[in-house]
Structure formats: C-alpha cells, structure tokens
C-alpha cells in the first residue's frame, strides 16, 4: 500500500474515476427497460433490471464524490497544483522507468502474453514452460540490469509471435509442418534460454540460479498438467505437440 500522503493524492484520481464509473453505470442502466415492454411483459419500475444497477451506480458515484472531496480538502489546493505539475513534467517519465515499475511491467506483460497471446494458440505445456522459464529467471537472478535485458528480449519475442499470429502464417505453415505454433514456441524458449545463458555465464552464482530456473520451468508443468489432463480429465486449453506425445505414452498408442 502507498504511504499516507501519497494515498490522499491517489484518492483524488481514484475518486474521480469512481464518479465517472458510477455515472457510466447509471447511463447504461437507463438504457434498460424501465416501464417498457420486454419479452411481451409490461414492466414496472420495481421489477426493472435497471433498478439494482441504478442503485449501485448512484452509490459508487456518491462515494467517489465523497472520497475525492475529502482527498482534495486533505491535500490542499497548493499541493494539488504541485501534483498536477508533477504529472505534466518529465519526472513522471523518470518515475515510470524506476525499477519497481519495470518489474510491474515485466509481470503484466508475462501474464498478458501467457493468457491472451500464447495460451489460445500454443500447446499448454510449452506456453507454461515459456512462462515459467522467463518469469523465474527474470526475478530469481535478482539483478535489475539483467531483468531489463531479459524483459526486452521476451517482449521482442512476443511481438514477433504477435505478428506471426496476426498475419495468419500459422495456417500457411500447417500444410507443410505439423504444429507450427508449437515449434515457434520451442524456438522462442531455446533462444530465450540461450540469451539468458550468454548474459550470466561469467557469474558462478547466477549459473546455479540458471540451472534451478530451468529445472523449475520444466518440472512443474509435467507434474501439474498431467494431474488435470489424465486424472481430473480436464482437457488443456490448447493441445498440441507435447500433449500429443503424452497422449501417445499415456494410452500406449504407438
């Protein structure tokens, strides 16, 4: 949680956001049938589907007004002006490049990349290995300089993958190579690991961490996913190269 004085400043903005959000809920609720006919039934206001959202929207915007008002009084006009000047200055850019914020970006990109980009298209085992390998190594090395480099590499790789999926190359390649997306993921994993090795190979302590990261990136997916897939009979979000191999072993299907 932020410090007390920063909290009050943040309250001004969160209060305003909630005021707007409350009004948005009300505006959406007003589009719902209030006294009109819906599904052949003539509505009355107290059965309307808009009733509860209207109540919720009104309360959220009222609480937002109270919060923002209290925060403005607490912070004071002068400090508020200084805050606005800070937001318009280059200091904001400096803040957005601090190590803590970069760590946040790294985690967000990893999660969003995993869920929105890789998971619907790449074999779940492979995208889990990629996620864990990048996530564990980035933070376990505990070196912000390395984290930035590894994050930049992962981001670049993700942009390449995004382009590959957006251009529909996967469908074109599928005719000649089975599981092209999975092979792309394998290439991504191997190149990331190779890049990480080049960065840390001179430091013995990091070499040990590298090996640990590698083991922990591979072992958990092979422990957790089979439990879901073969014992709980939960099909993986995307089944490709590795799942096909495991299926062959599990059902002895050679």
């Amino acid at each position: 949680m932020l410090e007390k004085d920063k909290l009050r400043k943040a309250d001004i903005f969160s209060g305003v956001i909630f005021i707007l959000f409350g009004f948005w809920i009300i505006s959406q609720a007003l589009k719902m049938p209030m006294k009109d006919s819906w599904g052949g039934v003539q509505n009355v206001w107290f059965v309307s589907p808009a009733l509860f959202p209207l109540l919720v929207g009104a309360v959220i915007s009222t609480l937002g007004i109270l919060l923002a008002g209290m925060a403005v009084i607490s912070v004071g006009g002068q400090e508020f002006g200084r805050l606005l000047r800070w937001l318009a200055s280059s200091q904001l850019i400096v803040f957005l490049q601090t190590n803590g914020v970069i760590r946040f970006y790294a985690m967000s990109v990893l999660f969003f990349g995993f869920v929105y980009l890789n998971l619907p298209r790449i074999d779940f085992f492979l995208c889990s290995i990629l996620f864990l390998a990048v996530f564990i190594s980035m933070f376990y090395f505990d070196d912000d300089r390395l984290l930035k480099k590894l994050f930049a590499f992962y981001l670049a790789g993700s942009i390449v993958c995004l382009g590959y999926f957006a251009l529909g190359l996967s469908e074109t390649l599928e005719a000649t190579l089975p599981y092209p997306n999975d092979w792309l993921a394998v290439v991504f994993i191997v190149s990331y690991l190779a890049y990480a090795w080049i960065l840390i190979r001179q430091v013995p302590a990091l070499r040990k961490k590298y090996r640990t990261s590698l083991v922990l990136a591979v072992v958990p997916p092979f422990l957790i996913c089979p439990v879901f897939k073969y014992f709980l009979l939960v099909p993986m979000p995307t089944e490709g190269l590795v799942v096909a191999m495991l299926d062959a072993i599990w059902y002895w299907d050679f």
């Binding site: 949680m1 509860f52 109540l55 309360v59 967000s108 864990l132």
Partner: protein, 521 residues
C-alpha cells in the same frame, strides 16, 4: 431426542470419514498443504482454498469439503510459523502472533511457541465446531422467517460491515470496493427477466461473471505482483528446537482460551471479516485484561495463545453465516461458498431441508481437521519450516501458473482467464491505493441475492418500501445499516462526543447535588 440423534449422526460421520483410508490421506495431505501455504509469506489460506477448489471438481461433496476445510484450517494455523521464526506473518491472520512469537524465538523458545500455537489453534477450531453445531439450527430457524426485504438488507449489511471493518485506510474505500463487487454481480442476464446487463454482446457473459475465477484473480494475481515487485526477502530463520505440546500452559489459561475462542467465533460470524481481525481483537483483549500488560510484545505466551486460538476459532465462526444464510463470514469462506455451489450445494436457510446432515458433516470435518492439524503440526513442523527458505521468485510464478490452470479448469473456458487477469490487475491497483479486496469478493457473491430479493420484495409490496419499517427484523437491520454508515462520519463523532461530555457534566452536577453543598468553614 433431536440432540441425541444429532450427536449420533455426528459420530457416525466421523467414523465414516476415519474408516476410509483415502479420505484420511486427503485430510492429512490437505492440512499439510494448508500449513505450507500458510507458512510461506505471500501465500494465504484463501489462495490455497481457491487453487484446491479446481482439484475437488471431480470429487463427491463430502470429500471436497474435507479437502477444502482441511486446507483452510491448516492455512490459518500455518501462518504462525513465519510469524514466530522470521517475524514476518505467513498470513495476515498470524500478524498478531508475531508480536510475541518472535521474541520467544529470540529467547530460544521457538519450539515452545510453535507447540503452543499448534495446541491453541486445535482447541480454537474444536470450540468453533461446537458453535457451528449448536447455533446453526437456531439461526436457520430465524432465517426461515426472513422475507425478501430481510435478505436484501442482510446482503447489504454484509457488504457494508465488511467494507467498514476490513478497510486499511478510509472506510469509504471499503464501501466502494463492496459496491464494485455488486456491479460485477450485475453483469449477465438478470435473474427475473433475463435481460442482458453489461454484456456488450459477449455471449460468454450472459450467465454472469464466474465467481471462482474472479476470486482466484482477485486474491492470487495482486499477491504475486506485490511480492515480486517489492523484492520481498525472507529473513534469517530462527532455530527450531523440539516442539512441545504445552498442554500445561493451555490448562492454566483455560478462561483466556475460551474468551479468545468466543471472540474468534463472534468475529467469524460477522459477514466478510477474516481471521486477521479476530487475531488482533483477541490479542488486544488479552493485553487489556492481563495483570502484566507490560510483558506483551516481549515474548508473552498469553499473547500467542490469544491470537492463535481466535484466528482458528474464526474458521468455524465463518461457517455459521455461510451455511445458514449463504453469506460468507471470511474471504476463504467466500471461496468455500463458490466451491459448494460448484458441487450443487446452495447454502442458506433451506440447507437443513435439502441436505439435513450437511452442517453436522461440516462440524465433523472441522473436528477431524483440527486433530489432523495438531498431529501434523507436532510431527512435521521441523520439515515444514524448511519451506520458509524457498525464495519467492521461485514459487510465485508457479502459483501464477496454478491460478491460470485452476481458473480455466472450473468452466473449461478460456474466457474465464480473459476476465481473471484484468480483475487481478485492477485488484492490485486497488490494494495499492488502500482499497480492501474482501468486500469486493463479498459483493460479487452477495450481489445476485441482493438484486433478486430487492425486486422480489418490491413486487410483493407493489413498489412500497413500508415493509422495511413494519417488519421488526427489517427495521432492526435497516437501523443497523444506517448506524454503520452514519457512525463513520465526523459530524456523528462530534455529536457523540458532545453528548457524552454533556451527560458526564450532568452526572457530576447531580453527584455534587446529592452530596449536599460543601460545608462552609
């Protein structure tokens, strides 16, 4: 006769559970997993229950409850390990334990402290189990008299009180958080007319927001980001000697234990308030009533005893509103509610008719869990402590992966993940800005109940709010809600202070008057 029958059912269920080796293995395994989750700073029992819910999907309801209640009990207790050995609470529930637990460890009495927390936690859970069995029928009986207005007001009260008591900063933030949860509950087709609300044309949203994935996102993702962003480092672990059950100390402190257990059960029964508050209130009470309050914070055994008994008693307390009213008493209980719904059990006043032995079953599982926790704590504490040496950057990404596969497996729907992640990121920002997450979760869960009952009640009364004032329970709930809101404002506090000061003045004038005028010299 009814009582004897219930006691008979209770022991039959215990015998049934104990006689099945698989159930026993699940019980001990889940308790151990819970202790590990509780012990590792950054992981919580709520997250443990959330992740395990996915694994219980294929189990029958009784086994699933064994699994989930055992991890809940184990997780609440496990938090004390990190509190005592590294002075960092494994869970918020064990924060008060650190105040005296760590000084004890510094004195070389870590084994004694862990032995005491193990025994106290087991006793706390067992006492709370007694309340689950004895109070539930009474609450259930009263709840059956409730009409839609009462249920609407009860849901509203749950959200407000949770927002009031769990907010780390301003109370308004707790309320906003609760209403955000209510908004999320509005998404999907409404329950009375099936009108699509806030779905934006996504058919996946027609059935509403899936509760469990949202809860996993709300508790899991912010936790991972917080721990790794702030470069959370685990300090040096104090040495752990032989674990002693400390039964003598426990016997000497029976009244304090009973008081702490009552505090735990009472706080657990209030909707949405977790084990952390129970621990702090009990610790504060123990300090205030002690003959030597100056020893608290310096390694006082009573301090450890008070917080640990209360936080584990809260587990049972949280089951009381959950099972009888369908209102979760704590964040892990909210997860349990989600799990129960997955298994086709709808908690509420009708539970005693639809599943007559269910509450007794829960009580039996609580008792077995507390026994399993005591045995596991006594035998495996030294091994479990080793997990405290695992650095967070190693286990947090794995937890992230578990959150994802767990959320997906509950509905076999990738759309759940598309919702879970933004919810998690928003919850992270909310937490950073001092908004509590528990009211949001309670709001998501109680939203449908509040919405449906408000409209049903108004349908019956033809749009009149008068029944709120003519029905005694409604009126009481309404007044409590109004008081809860008003009591947070400065004008009320000023008015109260003025009133108290005036009453005191009046009292002193009366006292002087009754003693007669001072004698003239």
């Amino acid at each position: 006769m009814m009582l004897l029958e219930r006691i008979g059912t209770f022991f039959t269920i215990i015998l049934q559970l104990v006689s099945e080796p698989i159930t026993l293995a699940i019980l001990f395994g889940s308790v151990l997993l819970g202790i590990i989750f509780g012990a590792m700073p950054g992981l919580t029992s709520t997250l443990g229950v959330a992740l395990l819910t996915a694994l219980t999907y294929g189990m029958d309801t009784a086994t699933a409850m064994v699994c989930l209640l055992a991890i809940y009990v184990g997780g609440t207790y496990g938090g004390s390990y990190a509190s005592i050995l590294i002075n960092i609470p494994g869970t918020a529930a064990a924060a008060a334990t650190a105040l005296d637990g760590y000084p004890l460890a510094l004195k070389g009495e870590a084994g004694r402290a862990i032995g005491l927390t193990t025994t106290a936690s087991a006793i706390g859970t067992s006492i709370s189990m007694l309340f689950v069995v004895s109070i539930s029928p009474i609450i259930s009986y009263f709840a059956l008299q409730f009409t839609s207005f009462e249920f609407f007001l009860l849901a509203f009260f749950g959200i407000l009180i949770s927002g009031t008591l769990t907010s780390p900063d301003l109370v308004i933030k707790g309320w906003i958080s609760g209403f955000l949860g209510l908004f999320m509950a509005c998404v999907g087709r409404d329950l009375l007319q099936f009108y699509p609300r806030f779905t934006f044309g996504f058919t996946q949203l027609d059935s509403g927001v899936e509760v469990v994935p949202v809860l996993i996102g709300a508790f899991g993702i912010p936790q991972i980001i917080q721990v790794l962003k702030e470069r959370f480092q685990i300090g040096e672990t104090q040495k752990l000697q032989r674990i002693i059950p400390e039964i003598g100390t426990v016997i000497r402190n029976v009244p304090a234990i009973i008081r702490s257990a009552l505090i735990g059960v009472g706080i657990g029964a209030v909707p949405g308030i977790g084990e952390d508050i129970a621990g702090w209130v009990s610790y504060g009470t123990a300090k205030n009533t002690s003959k030597h309050p100056e020893t608290f914070g310096k390694g006082e055994l009573q301090g450890v005893l008070a917080s640990e008994t209360a936080n584990n008693a809260c587990v049972g307390g949280a089951q009381i509103p959950l099972l009888n009213l369908g209102i979760p008493g704590s964040p892990p209980a909210a997860m349990l509610l989600g799990a129960l719904m997955l298994h086709g059990v709808t908690p509420g006043p009708m539970i005693t008719f639809e599943h007559p032995t269910f509450i007794t079953e829960v009580a039996a599982i609580l008792l077995l869990s507390s026994l399993a926790m005591w045995v596991t704590g006594m035998l495996l504490a030294k091994q479990v402590v080793k997990v405290l040496r695992i650095p967070p950057p190693i286990f947090m990404p794995i937890i992230g992966m578990l959150c994802i596969i767990g959320s997906y497996s509950l509905g076999l729907n990738i759309f759940n993940l598309y919702l879970m992640l933004p919810v998690g990121i928003i919850c992270y920002f909310l937490t950073e800005m001092g908004y509590p997450i528990a009211p949001l979760v309670i709001g998501v869960i109680l939203g449908p109940m509040a919405d449906e009952n408000l409209r049903r009640a108004l349908m019956v009364s033809q749009g009149s709010f008068m029944p709120v004032f003519t029905r005694p329970v409604s009126l009481l709930l309404f007044l409590v809600i109004v008081w809860t809101v008003i009591s947070q404002f400065q004008f009320y506090k000023n008015f109260k202070n003025k009133l108290v000061a005036r009453l005191r003045r009046k009292k002193s004038v009366t006292a002087v008057g009754s003693n007669g005028p001072p004698a003239e010299e």
